[in-house]
């Protein structure tokens, strides 16, 4: 089976006032259907750049030097090439760090879901928009989709807003979902619920999930594979358990040692 997402030899550079900064350096990564891949690293390790590159949300001063990104076998990014518009929101959905603020405060949840559906599903009827909106909120384990649809973001709790944000990313049934630090702003209980939700979504829908986090323990709970990043490079990559139990790299060992333990 071909991969959902393939990064091969991806190098990305930012042009700054006082020179250039390598954000990603020769990164290889692959995600298959039904697989959760964790990208773990400290701030500045390049994990967010990696996530944003896939949907073409790099800053103006950032460019791809080498390598390619392919989504479901189709090349979308290469040096001087940006075809991410063809997969953004349709084949690839993205959930951001601060979900509360990733909803437009002036629009009802219903309007925001309808906007995405109308954009990506050709000739969709009004009834179909409503049906799929309710369906996706139910998938997000929201008990009263009707009320949530009719609400403005500020009328919902943080946890609900997070679910709505995830719903907005998956309502178009993308094959791949990218979650960028999307549990960081949540308290531990809500965090667990969101992680469980992702697991269920991957199992039920057979999507691939790229889970970006600085939290190694969280990644080990959720992910099948883990890529550890540092200084723009993937320093270690493999099965989650292998990486955690038998880290091959000094950096990974240091990351693991930094986790406080009970014993």
């Amino acid at each position: 089976m071909s991969a959902l997402l393939t990064l091969s030899g991806l190098s990305i550079t930012a042009r700054l006032a006082d020179g250039e900064l390598r954000l990603l350096d020769d990164v290889d990564l692959e995600i298959r259907r039904g697989q959760i891949v964790g990208v773990v690293g400290e701030s500045g390790s390049g994990k967010t750049t990696l996530a944003r590159a896939v949907v073409g949300l790099l800053d103006r001063n950032v460019r791809v030097d080498q390598g390619t990104i392919a989504v479901a076998g189709e090349q979308v990014v290469a040096p001087g090439v940006d075809r991410t518009g063809r997969v953004r929101g349709s084949a690839v959905g993205m959930v951001f760090q601060d979900a509360s603020r990733s909803l437009n405060p002036l629009l009802k949840v219903r309007t925001q879901l309808a906007e995405v559906l109308r954009r990506h599903v050709r000739d969709i009827t009004r009834a179909e928009v409503e049906r799929r909106s309710v369906e996706v909120l139910a998938q997000m384990r929201i008990d009263d989709p009707g009320r949530v649809l009719a609400s403005y973001p500020h009328q919902l709790s943080g946890g609900l807003r997070q679910r709505v944000a995830i719903g907005l990313a998956v309502v178009t049934r993308p094959a791949l979902v990218i979650a960028d630090e999307c549990t960081t702003a949540l308290d531990v209980t809500t965090q667990t619920k969101v992680v469980d939700l992702f697991r269920t979504l991957v199992d039920e829908l057979g999507i691939g999930l790229l889970f970006v986090t600085h939290d190694l323990m969280l990644a080990s709970d959720l992910c099948d594979r883990i890529a550890v990043m540092s200084g723009g490079r993937v320093v270690e990559q493999g099965d989650a358990l292998t990486v955690l139990d038998h880290p091959q790299q000094e950096y990974t060992r240091r990351l693991l040692a930094a986790i406080p333990s009970w014993s």
């Binding site: 951001f96 405060p105 954009r119």
Partner: protein, 307 residues
């Protein structure tokens, strides 16, 4: 309606009423402070008995408190008194001049919005580029150039040198072009700068990146998501600017001999026609209070969080 909403609206109305009352009192007080109008009206050579008679006729010999209460009663019953120089009711004179000022302000503000908003949005969406720098420089110029000077330069160019447009007075749509253009320059620049700032804040919000990641088109992200969120400060300024211009676009009206309220105010001041000055100030205060109310209403329409 929720109880908190009722309380908020009530509080707002009370504070607007208080502002209005303060403005009315100031208008009255300043009129009294500017000296005895009978000297101006009758000339410096008039005999004292004649001036005394006029003072009596105008009610100026009554105690100030009585005059003040009479004045307030008049304002709230729609009677703004009589002009000393035109022997007409001030209300009807304001009503005669208002359409001209409305035309001028309407055309000027429309032009300001039509140019200022796209300019600001352009600058914000291309932050740091030459487009941005160009638009910002233009806006700075627009805010700094003196209105009367700019007006006269337009007259020199388009009326005197080229002869394309009339140099002043009203009567046809052609007469409106230069005054409206002159009037629009300051608000246009102000709106452009504010739009630039407000849009660039909005564009940095996480929901903008999220919308882009969902594949929403750039145009829709800019206008539907960023602009609607950036709109409130712009709306506020537009409405308040309109208020400032409505109650006296003095310089523009003077340069173009435009028969609006600003001209009327000038004439009233020159003649020490204090009832008319007072009436125009009162009218301006009323307009302001109403426009403030309009801003509140618009705000609650745009933003569900303040409903």
């Amino acid at each position: 309606m929720k109880a908190s909403t009722v309380r908020r609206v009530g509080g707002r109305l009370a504070s607007l009423f208080a502002s209005l009352l303060i403005a009315l009192s100031l208008a009255f007080l300043l009129g009294r402070l500017s000296g005895d109008p009978t000297a101006t009206i009758l000339g410096p050579m008039a005999p004292p008995e004649q001036r005394e008679a006029l003072r009596h006729e105008l009610g100026l010999d009554l105690p100030v408190v009585v005059q003040y209460l009479d004045y307030l009663k008049g304002v709230f019953t729609g009677d703004l008194g009589q002009s000393l120089q035109f022997y007409q009711s001030n209300t009807s004179m304001i009503a005669d001049r208002l359409p001209f000022t409305l035309q001028l302000v309407g055309a000027g503000m429309a032009l300001a919005l039509l140019v200022g908003i796209p300019l600001g949005v352009l600058a914000a969406t291309r932050e740091g580029t030459w487009w941005d720098r160009g638009a910002s420089t233009l806006a700075l110029l627009g805010q700094s150039v003196p209105v009367f000077w700019f007006g006269m330069m337009l007259v020199v160019l388009f009326a005197v040198k080229l002869g394309w447009l009339p140099a002043g007075q009203s009567g046809s749509p052609k007469h409106l072009i230069l005054p409206a253009l002159t009037m629009s320059v300051y608000p246009m620049a102000h709106i452009a700068r504010l739009t630039r700032a407000s849009m660039s804040d909005a564009l940095a919000e996480p929901y903008i990146d999220s919308a882009r990641a969902r594949g929403i088109s750039t145009r829709r992200v800019v206008w539907r998501h960023a602009f609607t969120n950036a709109m409130m400060p712009i709306l506020t300024i537009v409405v308040l600017q309109t208020g400032i211009l409505l109650s006296g676009a003095v310089a523009v009206e003077y340069v173009y001999s435009w028969p609006g309220l600003g001209q009327l105010a000038l004439q009233a001041i020159q003649f020490r026609d204090f009832p008319l000055v007072q009436a125009i100030v009162v009218f301006g205060a009323l307009v302001f209070v109403l426009l403030n109310l309009l801003v509140d209403v618009l705000h609650s329409i745009v933003d569900p969080r303040v409903r």
